[in-house]
Structure formats: C-alpha cells, structure tokens
Symmetry: C2
Subunit: 493 residues, 2 copies
C-alpha cells in the first residue's frame, strides 16, 4: 500500500505542460483497453473535501465518455435488499474492454454502515469486499483503487476557504463539518478498511490531495502505470486446455456416483397414486417459504437426456406461474462472455420470496468448460471454491438451495438419444454436440465426481437422483424438495 508523498505545490505552468501529455495518454489507454481481454475498475474514494467530485469531473472530461461509465451507490433499493449484498455491485460491472469509475466504490458503502450494525458485521463486509475483488482480479480485471487523503488541518483549511467565499459556500454542508469533527475516528476506520482490502492485484494507492494539481497528475499517472503493467501481464493469451482429459481431484465423489443404484423403478400406477399428494405438499411448502420471504433456487444438472426438463415441468405445475422463473443455461451470449462467468448467474438471482429454477447452472464451469477445455485448468480448479462461495452468499441471505444431479446409465442415454432422433418434435433436442459429449463420458464422469465431492456443502448439498426411470426420478425430486424446504423452514413435511 503506497504512502502519499507530501511535497510542495505544483506550479501552474508545470501542470499545464503535463496535462496535454496525460490526456493524450489517457485516450491512448482507452483505445488499447477496447482490444484488451480485461475490464478496468477504478475506485475514487477518499476523505471529505479531498476533491472526489473534481476528480470524477476531470476524468469524465479527459476520457472519451463512450468507453466509461460512472457509478455511485446510494441507499439500497428494495430490489437490492431482496438479494445478497453483493448483487448491487455485480450489476454494475463493465464488460471486458470497458472501464467503470466508482465514486467512493463499494468501500464508501462499507464505511457508511452504521456503527450500530456492530464491528463483526463491518469486518464481515470487508472480507466480502476483499473476496469480491480477488475474484474479479483472478478473472483478469484491472482494479485501481485511489484514496484521496487530506490531513485534518488541510481539510479544515479547504472547508474554510470554500465557506468564506459566498460563491462557493454552497459546496460546504453541515454534514461536512460534522465529518470534520469526527476526522480521527473516520481516518482510523478508513485506514483499517484499506489494510484489510489491500491485495496484490487490488492494491490501494493513497494520493495526497492537499495540492489539487499534484493530486490530479499523480492519480492519472498511477492509473496509466497500472494499466500498462496490467496490459503487459495479460498480453500473451493463456494456452487453451486440451479437451477430454480425465483428471480426478477427489476420488470420493466418483465413488459416490458409481455406487448409485440405477435399477430403481416406479410403475405408472404407483406414480399416479402419489404424485398429486406430493405436488400439493410442494405447493404448500413453496407458499410457506414465500410467506417468510425465503427464496428457493433449484439447480438441475445431469447427463444429456436425463430428464431435467420433464422434472422441472412437474415441479412447476405445483407453483403459481407468476412466482417462478426457469432459466435454461445454454452457451453464454456475447454479452455474458465478456463478463466474469458468474455474472450471468448473479443477474438472475431471485428476489426474496421468489423461485428460480436453473436448467443447468454455474456448474457448467466445472463440467462442460472443464472437460471441453473452454477454460484453463487453473480456472476450473479455482472454480470449486468460487462456486461454494457463491452459494454461501445465497444461503447466507436465506435462499434455500436445492441441487440435483440426475444420473443415467450410458445404455439408457443411448436409448433416449435414438428416441429423440426418431420423434420429429424432439429432434431439436439432439445434435452432434450430444453425441460428442457422450464420447467423453469418462472425462465427464470424473468431473461430476469431483463436483459432487468438492461442492457438497451443509447448506447446499447435492442430491443424486437415479434417473433411468423417469417416474421414479420425478417423484424422488418432488419428495426431496418438499423435505428440504420444510426442514429449512423448521416445519414438518
């Protein structure tokens, strides 16, 4: 964490000689950024009266506005409060090739958290922010965090200077004086925040803001230097991974998968006799969850043709059509591809009391992307922890997370593939890709095993469902869902 260099004021003519050069370099930087495989996040935070607004205005004037967005965070809206705390930040992230400037960043939010929330809550927030920045940095984002620092004496002088001129007195509010009186406490808190959230790829840079010209030059120079260093580091595209490799990280998962008995069966009559009873229970359970403002997230993963869609339709027949959404996860769109892979899942996190059903999910990262080499090995190896953390944010917010793996024998899959090919209205469900995936069965099997072992967590366990018999699988999913929801609400089924 760089310390501010206090020094003499920069003469006007020195400043005016440097500005055109800096402006030109900023514009060049933006041109280079457009082609770069990363986004740039710039936080301008700092002490009161240190000139955050002036700096934002300056950057907005010097940068080409078509490549940059400015964001600030106000009191949370209900759409934000209804979701885990990080949702509001995820929704502002720029795609690769673009820059976002954050006035105060998520850090200002944290600092304004009322003391009544308690120290532990503040520390938890800081950890969450540090984790968030690490996640983005791991994905290649350039994270530049500037803290504009003003000593207590300099702050007092600045406030007096503004207040004494009738034309600028409006810039000083009673709030500013209140903050000035609490300078020492606020400075300690800010220093603590910077220490906890300072990381190799997301360091704080403290700029002495006493002299505005020095401040501007140092801030822009720092941004340029960080950009160029980052660009050099990310110049070489990482080597693509080889598809279809068979790797095992944790054998226990594969063992659990292979140990699943697939010869379960349920007759049409037995199914009919029980189905409506369980649908009724599910309906009550979902409504009870909504009454407590608890959301439900269903995750359906499974082999191609395992019956995910059919199982989902049975579930949804018991839920009011206005209360759930089914999100089918196919290939990411261009917009989704230009963001962190979790971005598109954050977008769809349901509001409190609603239901989202994912037909395939974020586990694509450690299944298809791992097996087909769509991401690098270090990326999918890191992903298990990232996925666990994502789900922990959901469950920590009260979301009930139900994860199902629909398991199928290779023989039954073959039978269903052929049936699809023979049925005109099902033919769109089967293509070359499915046959290709089937040839990678072993590599997928190991990937599924690792997923089951490494992301089976108390709040978000995996339920393995034998799916060779569709009726059995559907009822099993219904029953398990009812039981899990009831348990989460502290009810009987």
């Amino acid at each position: 964490m760089a310390k501010p260099s206090e020094g003499p004021k920069m003469p006007k003519r020195v400043y005016e000689a440097r500005v055109p050069v800096l402006r030109e370099e900023l514009v060049q930087m933006q041109v280079a950024l457009q082609q770069a495989p990363f986004s740039a996040l710039v936080t301008i935070a700092g002490d009161d009266a240190a000139g955050k607004g002036e700096v934002i205005n300056l950057l907005n004037g010097w940068l080409d506005p078509r490549g940059v967005e400015t964001h600030a965070f106000h009191a949370s809206t209900d759409e934000e409060r209804d979701r885990p705390p990080m949702w509001r930040y995820w929704r502002t992230l720029p795609p690769r090739g673009r820059m976002a400037i954050y006035v105060g960043g998520w850090h200002a939010d944290a600092l304004e958290t009322p003391a009544s929330a308690g120290r532990a809550s503040f520390e938890a927030t800081l950890q969450r922010l540090a984790h968030f920045e690490r996640l983005l940095a791991d994905d290649g984002a350039l994270i530049v965090k500037i803290w504009l620092q003003l000593s207590k004496a300099a702050q007092r002088d600045r406030l007096h200077e503004l207040a004494d001129d009738p034309d600028t007195a409006w810039r000083v509010s009673p709030e500013d004086w209140k903050h000035h009186r609490a300078y020492d406490r606020r400075a300690r808190l800010a220093e603590h925040l910077r220490r906890v959230t300072d990381q190799p790829d997301a360091p704080w840079h403290v700029v002495d803001a006493a002299d505005p010209r020095t401040r501007n030059v140092e801030l822009v120079s720092h941004l340029l230097a960080r950009f160029h260093a980052h660009q050099r580091k990310h110049a070489k595209p990482a080597p693509a991974a080889k598809p279809g490799r068979v790797v095992t990280l944790r054998a226990a998962g594969l063992k659990r998968l292979r140990g699943l008995s697939l010869d379960q069966h349920l007759s049409e009559d037995a199914y009919q006799a029980k189905r409506d009873k369980w649908l009724g229970r599910l309906n009550r359970a979902v409504r009870a969850a909504a009454e407590q403002c608890r959301s439900i997230v269903w995750v359906f993963e499974g082999w191609d043709a395992a019956g995910k869609g059919g199982a989902i339709r049975r579930l949804t027949s018991a839920i009011d059509a206005r209360d759930y959404r089914v999100i089918p996860i196919a290939k990411p769109s261009d917009e989704e591809k230009s963001h962190h892979y979790l971005w598109r899942f954050w977008r769809h996190v349901p509001r409190a009391g609603r239901v989202t059903i994912y037909d395939r999910s974020w586990y694509g990262r450690v299944l298809v992307e791992r097996v087909e080499g769509f991401c690098r090995e270090e990326e999918w190896r890191r992903a298990y922890a990232e996925l666990n953390d994502f789900e922990a944010q959901l469950t920590g917010h009260g979301v009930i997370v139900l994860k199902f793996w629909l398991h199928l024998s290779a023989a039954e899959q073959l039978r269903r593939f052929r049936h699809r090919e023979e049925t005109p209205y099902k033919r769109h469900k089967i293509g070359a890709e499915d046959w290709r995936n089937r040839r990678q069965w072993r590599a997928y099997e190991h990937a599924v095993g690792d997923m089951l072992a490494l992301t089976h967590r108390p709040g978000a366990p995996w339920h393995l469902v034998p799916a060779d018999n569709k009726r059995f699988a559907r009822l099993e999913i219904l029953k398990t869902s009812c039981k899990r929801i009831a348990a989460a609400l502290g009810h009987d089924v």
Copy 2:
C-alpha cells in the same frame, strides 16, 4: 376480436394425434423466429381457473426453453415506482428473434388496479397500454394476446372439481371463490379492457377454456397462424432510404434556427464573474428538486464540435458526483439494435430525485438516422409523435426535461475541427464521419428545423443556444437550466 367457439369436448385420441404435429410446428416456428427481424410477445391472460398456469407450463414444455422467457408482474418495486409506469414493461421486452410469454400480461396489472384509483385512472392506463402495443407493433413486433374464457358456471364446476379432491384442493384459494362471486363485474371490466386494447396489429383472441384439450389446440394453432401471417408480411426487407435528402416538414423550425443570432460574445472576465454564482444556484436548484423527488433529464443536441461535452462538464461541476449520470449516445450496441429504438433510452431513465444527462439522445432518430437513411422514411416521420409521447411520459411522472440545441456557424465548426486535428489529445474526437456529416449540413439543418418545430412542447421545450462563443453558451445553459428548474418547482431562481 374473435369470439370463442363453444363446442363439444375433444376426444383424447384426437388430441393425442394432434399434439405431436403442433409440437413439431412450434419448434419449427422457433427456428424461423431466430432469423426473423421481429420479436414475439405472447400474453396469456384470462378468467380465474381457466388454466393460465397449465397453459404456461404446456408452452414451456413444448417450446425450446432457450428461445423464450416468461414474465409476470407483481407489485411494483421501488425502482419501478420511481419511474414512469411503462418502465417495468420496457425492461422485459425480448430482442428480435426471441419470444417472451407474459402471464397475464400488462393487462392483468391494469385489471388489478384498485377501484379506489378511479375510473379515469383506469381508462388512462388502458390508453397507455394500447399506445405501447401500437408502438411495438409499428416496430414489427408480433403481438399475440390470448384471453382464456370460462363461463361462470364452468368456473364454478372447475373450482368444485378441484376443491373436492383432497389431492388438488390446494389449487383453490379463498381468493378464487371471492373472484368467482364477483364474476360478472370482473368479466365486464375484462371485456372493456379487451375492447379498448384491441387493435389491428395487436388483437385479442378469446379462447373458450371449458375443455382443456380444445383450449390447448386452439391456442397453439392461433399462435402458429399469427406467426406465419406475420412472417409473410415481414419477409421482404423494406427498401433503405437514400441518405442526405433535403426534406422540410414544417418550415417554422428552420426559420427559428436561421433567425438565431450567433454573434453573441462573453469575455473571460465577465464569464468568471458570473459563473460561480450560477453554479451555486444550480446546485441549490438540483438539491431542491431531489428533495421533492423530482428527477431532471438534460438533453444535449447540437452540431458536431458545438461544445456539448464542455457544457456538460460545467453543469456537473455543481452536482454531487453520486447524483448524476452522463449517458453518451453513440452508435447502438448489438443488443440495443435488436430492440425498439427507444429501448435504450428507457433503460437509463433516472430514478426519482436523480439526474441523467444525455450527450445526444433519442433525437438521433430524427437527425442522424433520418439524414443518413439508417431508418425508413415512414419510421422517422412517425418518430416525432413517438418522441413527444416518450417525453410526455417523463414529464407526466414529474421529470423535469431540459432540451438544448447548441447552434454553431459552419465557419466556427470548421475552425474547431481543424483545432481538434492539431491537438493530440483531441484527435480522437474528430474523424471521417464528422467531415461527412459536415458535407450534409443542409440536410441536417432541415432535420433540425423539423425537430425544433415538431417536438417543441409546453412541458419539454427546446432551448436554442448560440454556441460560437463557448463561454456565452455555457452561461446561457446554466442560467436557463436554473430558471426552468426553479419554475418547475414553483420557486424563485
């Protein structure tokens, strides 16, 4: 508006013979839709217990879920309430090539408006919805609106049938019986809604829902028929317009533009002496507006190099950096291009009490798109009314709309273009496109004139600013903005 055909029940074997054909045709329709130059909006509304949920489930099962989204509207969130009423619908619109299914549509929202809001408010809502659908239909959207109708007797029978079976009793709520008792009043209201919102390109289709099989077949057949008719109509791409044509719709605007005196001047000293005073006033005016939860939208249009960016930076220096956003309008992104041209402006409508500054705006439709032939003549001719309506929705919601046209002489523009080319950090602001636009000066002048004449409205007037002298223009914008905001709030300046 087609009437429901009441008839005998469809035998199961007839139904089962038709289903595979319909499913196949639905999937084929989706494949065709992907390549079509329009989106498809399907509303499933209807009487209680008519099977809206079943139908949604059916469509979700029969359609390929990757090309369709389902939306329902609940109580408005604060983010929605803080914006004009149609904002929540705009945010759900699918891009061209995709389909959205609306459970109840915006129509259910309207029907659930409490009677206490008054009849006039209900009628105004219906007009707004009709206008919205016409706007989308004019843009080519396929709008299919299905009303599932159930007679009072059939509704009673259905509710009893469900309630009497312990396994399905949960499907019937006390609310359903309450609605049943109010059947006649609700049916009259719904019929009135259908009559007012029935239009050639957005007709209602009423389906008798007494027999579920007949209902399903008729509904899907109707959707398919509408799709194919629509596709035939939109098969031929419309002829592109010729760029650079000089057209005049209303000579008064051109006269006003040419009558503007451009030799206004303000010395550096005179500017310095007044600027801070007006910035202070602007700061107070913006804060006063925020206290009343009034948003402010600034629209800056003007010749290339007229000084829009500089004027915006002077304005924003008086506003808290957290309270405003500058939205530069450049070429639309792929995502924006695949929606109605107003969609990207609706996205950025500010929340109550916030400020959005558009650096170029929706007027691009009747300026660059008109002159360069990026849209068809009938499209830009229609746009004046659409733009007026959009702004009326803003002002009707209490937004203060300030529109500035920065006017420049051709000689001064030339001087500025050359200066930009000679200044390294300004070179990115000038390119072949600017020189090309300059050669179309006359065509643009007529387009500007028409815009000034046709979109100069009491709540959203155009302010013409002579901008050959930047200082004069900036102060003029500051003063006019302060006065307009003060007037809107009923204050003195």
